[in-house]
């Protein structure tokens, strides 16, 4: 019996489902498939405002769509970025990635551009199969893995991705910082303008009215009235005494004139303080309003200056940043493909499929006329 006859006598199904796939697997994994090296980096995206997160927002980010674990907004941004087309474009600017995966020495089935064409969209999809972005089990540490056909290239691509992610986080926090400061500056400028306006109004009012402080002036006027009243009382007392004891005294008409003029003077002074449109009380109303404005503007300016200072201090502390736990590693041996394991897996799966199919066929054959 020749070998070929012997082979023919074996179940054809067994050949098709077990032997052929195993031989293909043997050839592919044994000889054709290129070594794949995987470079891994681990990092954390830190943001100082994480402590402020309320329990509610923790629940929301913990159960959110892209949240995964307790990942904060920045690490979600980084993960989305790493998986984006922009990241690929950024890393592939000098063609490093295309060269790494499109080399002629790579088996055509594994090579980019081998079977699916070399459009940018295909390139992106292809790269996604070589890229792994995963959150660690506690949802904080991000594992970034890049697989390539040469250890150096895997490390280089990984390092570039990490650098780009770092730049992205830095530019995001720089932007947030600049925004905060420029808003604070604007507020300071507005407050300054308001304070200046209020001060100008106040001084213009003083010039127009010729009054420094209406209340002070009213107080001094009231003092004057009191003094005049004292004098009036003294003059009246004297007049009464003279009229009672020496009615013919020559000072009486003089005293009468003095009393009259004192009364007139007091009336006039009173009119200056209250009543009448040009009185001190009217001026005091307007003055208080202006002074209140000036004080309010001053307080606002102080507050704006304080918040500017705070914003600047905040900015000096780094807002969010990438902290590297492990730099991209340089793989020293190929972790993929696991050749023996894959060949055995092909064989076992083939056996299982053969078992199922042959039992099904036996089941069908049991039905007879």
């Amino acid at each position: 019996m020749t070998v070929i006859e012997r082979l023919k006598s074996v179940d054809r199904l067994f050949i098709a489902v077990v032997i052929v796939p195993t031989i293909i697997g043997l050839i592919y994994f044994g000889f054709l498939a290129n070594d794949i090296y995987t470079s891994e980096a681990r990092f954390v995206v830190r943001s100082p405002n994480k402590d402020e997160a309320s329990p509610l927002s923790l629940v929301l980010t913990g159960g959110g769509l892209g949240g995964g674990g307790g990942g904060n907004a920045e690490s979600v941004t980084v993960i989305e970025y790493l998986q984006s087309r922009r990241a690929l474009t950024d890393v592939d600017q000098d063609g490093l990635v295309s060269r790494a995966y499109g080399g002629e020495d790579i088996f055509w089935l594994d090579r980019f551009g081998g079977i699916f064409g070399d459009s940018r969209e295909e390139f992106y999809r292809y790269f996604q199969t070589k890229l792994g972005v995963a959150e660690g089990t506690n949802g904080q540490v991000i594992h970034l893995t890049v697989s390539a056909f040469a250890p150096g290239e895997a490390q280089q691509i990984n390092a570039r991705l990490l650098d780009q992610a770092e730049k992205l986080v830095n530019s995001l926090s720089e932007r947030a910082r600049a925004d905060a400061i420029s808003i604070a500056r604007q507020e300071v400028a507005q407050a300054e303008e308001a304070a200046r306006k209020a001060a100008v109004m106040l001084s213009r009012f003083r010039n127009e009215q010729g009054i420094i402080d209406p209340e002070l002036e009213a107080a001094s006027d009231l003092q004057m009235i009191a003094k005049l009243q004292d004098e009036l009382i003294a003059a009246r007392t004297q007049l009464l005494q003279l009229e009672t004891y020496t009615p013919q005294a020559s000072q009486i008409p003089f005293l009468r004139a003095q009393v009259r003029s004192l009364q007139k003077e007091i009336e006039q002074q009173r009119g200056g303080i209250a009543g009448g449109s040009r009185s001190l009380s009217t001026a005091a109303m307007r003055y208080q309003e202006l002074q209140f404005n000036a004080e309010a503007a001053g307080k606002q300016l102080t507050a704006a200056l304080a918040s500017l200072q705070e914003a600047q201090a905040e900015g000096r502390r780094k807002q969010a940043y990438v902290e590297r736990i492990a730099d991209p590693s340089l793989p020293d041996y190929a972790t993929q493909p696991r050749r023996i394991r894959n060949i055995i897996a092909t064989f076992i799966l083939g056996l299982l499929a053969w078992g199922v199919l042959s039992m099904l066929i036996v089941g069908i054959r049991e039905h007879r006329d």
Binding site: G62, G63, G69, T137, L352
Partner: protein, 266 residues
């Protein structure tokens, strides 16, 4: 059994088996639903009512499912797939005892009885899923699936796994009552874990790893990805689900052969 037999004999056997299955299907439908009121329409009205009820409940309570997906579509995809994998074993457990009398017929095999019931369950669940989908879409309660092929693929994979599980449990149940007793609590326990009530992505990473060891989850995630596409990030690994289903099928067929040797017609 060997290549020595002519090819036409296999084809002839297949024709006979198809006839047997057709007859068993009709018999199953009649014995189960009878000719009263809407008759065999209950086949898919029953799961439809289930799904409708669950959808209404989930919508009313705005159930937390950890994502922003539309709740109606979420409930429909989730609960339909539960019906698919849970009803198959339910119907196959004890199926042989109920049909022992039929075993007198030379051409009715143990496997045929299971297949007939599986086809019935699969048809019922599928029609219910399809009718409700079309109805909800036409009412504007949800949008049509983004990738129909993915939905169909996921659905078939769940069905494959469910069928293998059903045959294995059905064959085991012929020898031990324990299977029937244990299946009910187990199926209720797996229901909340099977991915029907949540998206894997919403879980913390360590829980994802645990949940993804349950094979149904991969199928449900695939159906969801087909439905929601870009809106949801699905986690599934066909490299896990397919070998598991294949291995389970192998075990199931072995068990059926063992039972077939021992079965004693009444």
């Amino acid at each position: 059994m060997s290549a020595a037999l002519p090819q036409s004999s296999l084809r002839r056997s297949a024709v006979i088996q198809r006839r047997v299955l057709g007859a068993l299907l009709v018999r199953e439908m009649l014995t189960r639903y009878g000719r009263h009121n809407i008759g065999f329409l209950w086949l898919f009205v029953e799961p439809m009512l289930f799904t409708l009820g669950v959808t209404a409940l989930w919508t009313a309570t705005k159930s937390v499912h950890g994502s922003s997906l539309p709740i109606v579509a979420f409930a429909l995809t989730g609960y339909s797939s539960v019906l698919l994998w849970r009803n198959m074993p339910g119907r196959c457990i004890g199926a042989l005892w109920a049909n022992l009398a039929l075993m007198y017929h030379r051409n009715i095999k143990v496997f045929d009885i299971y297949v007939a019931r599986l086809l019935l369950e699969f048809g019922g669940a599928t029609v219910s899923f399809a009718v409700l989908s079309v109805a909800f879409v036409s009412f504007g309660w949800m949008s049509p699936p983004e990738d129909f092929l993915k939905v169909a693929g996921g659905w078939l994979l769940i069905a494959w796994f469910g069928a293998a599980l059903a045959i294995a449990l059905g064959a085991l149940s012929h020898e031990s009552d324990l299977v029937d007793k244990l299946w009910h609590p187990v199926s209720y326990l797996i229901f909340p874990l099977s991915g029907s009530a949540f998206m894997v992505d919403a879980l913390p990473p360590f829980a994802q790893q645990i949940v993804l060891t349950i094979p149904m989850v991969h199928g449900v995630e695939l159906v969801r990805e087909g439905y929601f596409g870009s809106q949801a990030r699905a986690h599934y690994d066909l490299g896990y689900l397919v070998p598991v289903a294949l291995a389970l099928s192998f075990v199931a067929l072995l068990l059926v052969r063992r039972v077939a040797l021992r079965v004693v017609p009444e």
